[in-house]
C-alpha cells in the first residue's frame, strides 16, 4: 500500500534510479536537494511524498526553466483593464462596468500525439475548468493546431501520420466542445515538416463573469472545507505532467496511463453546478484539478491563502477500489473541481450538487500551519512543509541566440503570376479550413455575431476575427483571434514572434475591435539545449517588446517545452490568442467585398520581406528576411482604421498576411463573389512580384463605401494607397500597363475550397 523509499542511504546513481523507476522526472540535483531535506528531517520519504514532489517540481507545474524569462519580458504589463492577471489559472480582464472576461490558453501536445482524440478532448475539458474555476461562464473555445504536412509520405516509427492526428484531434475537440455546448469560434491550423514528430495542440477558452462573482483559487481561512466535486478518481491520467515534461520517443505509447477519453456529459452538469454555487456566494475559493491532480490543487489552494491543509485520502470516491494512496493523490482523472467552502455553507452546496446529480465529498480542510498532512486509514502517511513542496528549484539555464543574417538570395522573376496565385490558394496552409470550422458548432449559445466563415451564402471566405456578443442586455462584443506563423519563427524567433502579435492585432482591427489583451502558449523544444532555450528567450523578448509598446497586457498563458523527438524539435511556436473589444457589434464588418464600384485601398507599406513567405516556399528558395514590426506604426494605423470602421466608412476589410496582396484580394473576392480591378503601380518602385507576394506586416486592404471615400481619405492617418475598385467577375491585377493576373473568381474559389477536403474526405 505504502512504501518508505530509502533516500537517505542512496548514492547518486541510486537517486537517479529512484527518479526513473517511479517516473518522477526529477534530475540528479533535484533528487539531491530532496535527500538533503529529508536528512534534516531524519527520516525517509514515503512513496506518496516523493510522487508529490515529482508532480510539483515538473516543468509543467512550476515552469522551472521558463519563469525567469517570462518574468523579464512577458509578465507585468500594466493596463487599466487588468483585474487578475498571470496570478491564477486564467486571466481576468475588465469587460464593462459590471463584467469581466476570463482568458485561458493551454497546450495538450503530448497526450494528443499519443491519442489524438482523447488528448484533444481532455484538453478542451481542462481549459473549460480553468475558466469555470474563476466563476465564469465559458462563452467561446479556440484551438490553434499544428501538424506535419498532410501529404507526408513517410513518418518515423512510433509516430502517427499527420492525417490521422489531424482527424483525431479535430474529432476530439468537436465531440467535447459540441457536447458541452460551448462554441469553438476561432483557431488556426498549420502544417509544417517540423511537426511530424510532435504535433502541437493548443486550446483556449474565454468566459464571462460578473465582477462581484469572481472567485479565487485559494482557501480563505483555516477551517474552510476542501470539497471535491465531479467525477470519480481513477487510474487514468497518472503521470500526465511528468509525461508532458519529457521528450517523446518510440516507447511513449506505453505511457498510456497518461491518456484519457474525457466525459463531456459529466462535465456539463458540473459546470452548471459550480457556477450556481459560486453565483450564490457559497464559495470561499475554487480551483480545477488539472496537471498533478489532488497533489497540486490542495497545496496550491492552501498556500495561495497563506495556510496549510489536512486531507483524508480515503474519502476520495474511486473508480478502481484497489488504488494505492500515491495513485489517488496524483491521478489526473478528468471532470473534477475542488471547492473551498465555509462549514456553514456546506449543506446548501451539497444540496445543489445533488440536484445536478454530481458527486461532492469533503476530503479535508485548511489549517493554520503551513504544513500539508495526509491521512489514510487513520494513519498519517504524509507530512511536508508547504514551502519546500511548492518552492521548486528555479533555473537560469544557459541559452544561446543564433545570429540571423537578414539577406535574400537573388532569384529570377517568374513569368506566370496567375499560376502562382492559384498554387498559393491551394497550399494547405492557405486553403479553406471549412472542413474543420463546420465540424465545430461555432454558433451554439446564439451569440456568435461575426462568424469564422463570411460572405455570400454558400460562397464563404475566412474571417479575420470572430465576434461574440456575450451579454443579453448590451451590444458590447468580444473579438477573438489566434495566430502565429511558424515559418517565420523557425527562421527568426524574434521577428517571427513580433509578427504574431502584429497579425493578431491586424485581425482584431479588421472587424473594428480594439485589441485589449493577449494570452500566449509558448511551445518549444527541449530547454536543456541552449539553442532551444535561446529561441524561447528571443520569442518572449519580442512578445514583450511589441505588447509593451502597444500597452496591451498578457493576461495568461502556458509554457510547453520538450516538444522534441530524437530527430528534431518543433519550430518555435508561440501561439498568441488576442482579444479585442467592440463597443457596438452592429458596427462590425467582414472580409467579403460588398459592392460594384466601391474603391479599394491598401493601408501600410510594402517592403521586400520574403523570409518564411509562402511565395518563396513555393519557388523553393530560402530567405531570411522575416517581416519586421514597427509597433508605433502599428498603433497608429490600427487606431485610424478602427475609427474609420466605427464611423461606418468601410464596407469590407482584410489584413494582408500569408501570400501578400494578391492572396488578400483573392480571399475578399471569394467571399463577396465579385471581382476587383487593381493597379499596383502606385505602391512603389519595386519588382512586381515583391508587390504581389511580400508579407510585410501592418497592412490591410479595405473596401470603402463609394460616397464616403473622400471623408475616408481625409480622416485616415498613415500610409494609404488607392489601388482599385470592386467589380467584374475576375480578379484583374495590373502594374501600370502590364497585366499580372486575370482570373475568374469562381476558379479561385474552387481551387481554394478543395485541398483539405481532398486529403481528409
Amino acid at each position: 500500500m505504502l512504501y518508505e523509499v530509502d533516500l537517505i542511504g542512496a548514492d547518486d546513481q541510486q537517486l537517479l534510479k529512484i527518479s526513473e523507476e517511479a517516473q518522477l522526472g526529477l534530475s540528479l540535483s533535484e533528487m539531491r536537494r530532496i535527500k538533503k531535506h529529508f536528512l534534516e528531517k531524519k527520516r525517509n520519504p514515503t512513496d506518496i511524498e516523493l510522487q508529490s514532489l515529482g508532480q510539483a517540481w515538473s516543468e509543467h507545474c512550476c515552469y522551472k526553466c521558463s519563469t525567469q524569462i517570462l518574468k523579464k519580458f512577458v509578465f507585468g504589463i500594466d493596463a487599466p483593464q487588468n483585474i487578475l492577471v498571470i496570478k491564477e489559472d486564467a486571466g481576468v480582464v475588465e469587460f464593462d462596468e459590471d463584467h469581466a472576461y476570463v482568458v485561458a490558453l493551454e497546450s495538450h501536445n503530448h497526450p494528443s500525439a499519443i491519442e489524438p482524440y482523447g488528448g484533444a478532448a481532455t484538453g478542451i475539458g481542462g481549459i473549460l475548468r480553468d475558466v469555470v474555476c474563476m466563476g465564469a461562464q465559458p462563452v467561446a473555445l479556440i484551438d490553434p493546431l499544428f501538424f506535419g504536412p498532410l501529404d507526408s509520405s513517410h513518418v518515423p516509427r512510433g509516430v502517427k501520420h499527420p492525417r490521422y492526428l489531424f482527424s483525431g484531434v479535430v474529432s476530439g475537440i468537436r465531440d467535447y466542445g459540441n457536447r458541452v455546448g460551448i462554441p469553438t469560434v476561432a483557431g488556426m491550423v498549420y502544417f509544417d515538416e517540423g511537426y511530424i514528430g510532435n504535433c502541437v495542440v493548443n486550446v483556449g477558452c474565454i468566459g464571462v463573469v460578473k465582477k462581484k462573482h469572481i472567485i479565487r483559487s485559494r482557501v480563505k481561512k483555516p477551517g474552510d472545507l476542501l470539497v471535491l466535486v465531479g467525477g470519480k478518481t481513477g487510474r487514468d491520467g497518472i503521470h500526465g505532467v511528468t509525461f508532458a515534461s519529457a521528450e517523446l520517443n518510440e516507447s511513449s505509447e506505453e505511457l498510456r496511463g497518461a491518456v484519457q477519453l474525457g466525459d463531456p456529459i459529466t462535465k456539463e452538469p458540473l459546470i452548471h453546478a459550480c457556477l450556481e454555487v459560486s453565483n450564490k456566494g457559497l464559495l470561499e475559493g475554487m480551483k480545477d484539478l488539472g496537471g498533478g491532480g489532488l497533489s497540486c490543487v490542495v497545496g496550491e489552494m492552501a498556500l495561495a491563502g497563506g495556510y496549510g491543509a489536512e486531507v483524508e485520502l480515503d474519502r476520495v470516491p474511486l473508480k478502481d477500489v484497489d488504488m494505492v494512496p500515491w495513485e489517488i493523490w496524483v491521478s489526473e482523472s478528468q471532470e473534477r473541481m475542488m471547492l473551498a467552502v465555509d462549514p456553514k455553507n456546506l449543506k446548501e452546496v451539497s444540496k445543489i450538487f445533488e440536484e445536478w446529480d454530481v458527486n461532492s465529498t469533503v476530503i479535508g480542510k485548511a489549517i493554520d500551519e503551513k504544513i500539508q498532512r495526509i491521512f489514510y486509514g487513520g494513519k498519517k502517511i504524509f507530512e511536508m512543509d508547504m514551502e519546500f513542496l511548492t518552492k521548486a528549484p528555479v533555473y537560469n539555464k544557459p541559452f544561446q541566440i543564433k545570429a540571423i543574417e537578414r539577406k535574400d538570395p537573388p532569384f529570377e522573376e517568374p513569368d506566370d503570376y496567375g499560376k502562382i496565385l492559384l498554387r498559393l490558394l491551394s497550399s494547405p496552409n492557405i486553403a479553406s479550413k471549412e472542413w474543420v470550422i463546420r465540424q465545430y458548432d461555432h454558433e451554439v449559445r446564439a451569440s456568435t455575431v461575426i462568424k469564422p466563415l463570411q460572405g455570400v451564402l454558400g460562397k464563404n471566405t475566412h474571417g479575420d476575427a470572430t465576434v461574440i456578443k456575450p451579454l443579453e442586455s448590451s451590444y458590447r462584443g468580444l473579438a477573438i483571434t489566434a495566430d502565429v506563423n511558424p515559418s517565420y519563427t523557425k527562421i527568426d524567433p524574434f521577428w517571427g514572434s513580433a509578427s504574431a502579435i502584429d497579425e493578431v492585432c491586424r485581425n482584431l482591427a479588421s472587424v473594428g475591435a480594439i485589441p485589449h489583451s493577449f494570452a500566449d502558449c509558448l511551445n518549444f523544444g527541449n530547454p536543456e539545449k541552449p539553442e532551444r532555450l535561446g529561441e524561447l528567450y528571443s520569442s518572449a523578448k519580442a512578445l514583450g517588446y511589441v505588447a509593451k509598446a502597444l500597452e496591451i497586457p498578457f493576461v495568461s498563458g502556458n509554457v510547453s517545452l520538450y516538444n522534441e523527438a530524437p530527430y528534431g524539435s518543433i519550430p518555435p511556436t508561440p501561439s498568441i490568442l488576442g482579444i479585442g473589444i467592440v463597443s457596438d457589434i452592429r458596427k462590425c464588418i467582414t472580409v467579403d467585398m460588398k459592392k460594384e464600384g466601391n474603391p479599394i485601398y491598401l493601408i501600410g507599406e510594402t517592403k521586400k520581406e520574403f523570409g518564411g513567405s509562402e511565395y518563396l516556399k513555393l519557388l523553393g528558395i530560402s530567405s531570411k528576411t522575416v517581416p519586421v514590426v514597427d509597433p508605433k506604426a502599428l498603433k497608429k494605423r490600427m487606431d485610424s482604421l478602427i475609427s474609420a470602421i466605427k464611423d461606418g466608412l468601410i464596407a469590407s476589410c482584410h489584413d494582408v498576411s500569408e501570400g501578400g496582396i494578391a492572396l488578400c484580394m483573392a480571399e475578399m473576392s471569394i467571399g463577396g463573389d465579385i471581382g476587383a480591378r487593381i493597379d499596383t503601380g502606385i505602391i512603389g518602385n519595386m519588382r512586381v512580384d515583391h508587390k504581389l507576394f511580400s508579407e510585410s506586416n501592418t497592412r490591410w486592404i479595405v473596401e470603402v463605401k463609394h460616397d464616403l471615400a473622400r471623408e475616408f481619405e481625409k480622416k485616415f492617418k498613415g500610409a494609404l494607397f488607392r489601388i482599385g475598385d470592386v467589380g467584374g467577375n475576375n480578379i484583374l491585377i495590373k502594374n501600370d500597363d502590364r497585366t499580372l493576373i486575370d482570373i475568374p473568381v469562381k476558379e479561385l474559389r474552387d481551387v481554394w475550397n478543395a485541398p483539405i477536403y481532398d486529403y481528409m474526405g
Partner: protein, 79 residues
C-alpha cells in the same frame, strides 16, 4: 473476402459511452444491468481471396487507422 474487425477499449480506459448507456438502462428500470461496455465492429469487404495477405493488410489497417494501440485492442475474424 470479408473480415470483422472489432475494436475494444483496453482495460482501465474509461468508457464514457458505456457508463452513460448503463445509467440510462438503470433509469429505465433495468436494475440488473451492472455494466455496459461498447465495442465497434467494421465489416470489411476485401477484393482478395488470399487469407494471409488479407490478415496482414487488416492488421496494417488497424494500426494505421482503425485502432489506437494506446487505448484499444482489436480482434480480427475472417468470415
Amino acid at each position: 473476402m470479408e473480415a470483422d474487425v472489432t475494436i475494444i477499449l483496453k482495460k482501465g480506459v474509461a468508457d464514457p459511452e458505456g457508463s452513460n448507456v448503463k445509467k440510462a438502462l438503470n433509469l429505465l428500470g433495468f436494475d440488473e444491468v451492472r455494466k455496459v461496455q461498447t465495442m465497434k465492429t467494421f465489416r470489411i469487404d476485401l477484393a482478395t481471396e488470399d487469407r494471409g495477405k488479407a490478415k496482414k493488410d487488416i492488421d496494417e489497417m488497424c494500426k494505421k487507422l482503425l485502432a489506437n494501440p494506446v487505448i484499444q485492442t482489436y480482434r480480427v475474424e475472417i468470415r
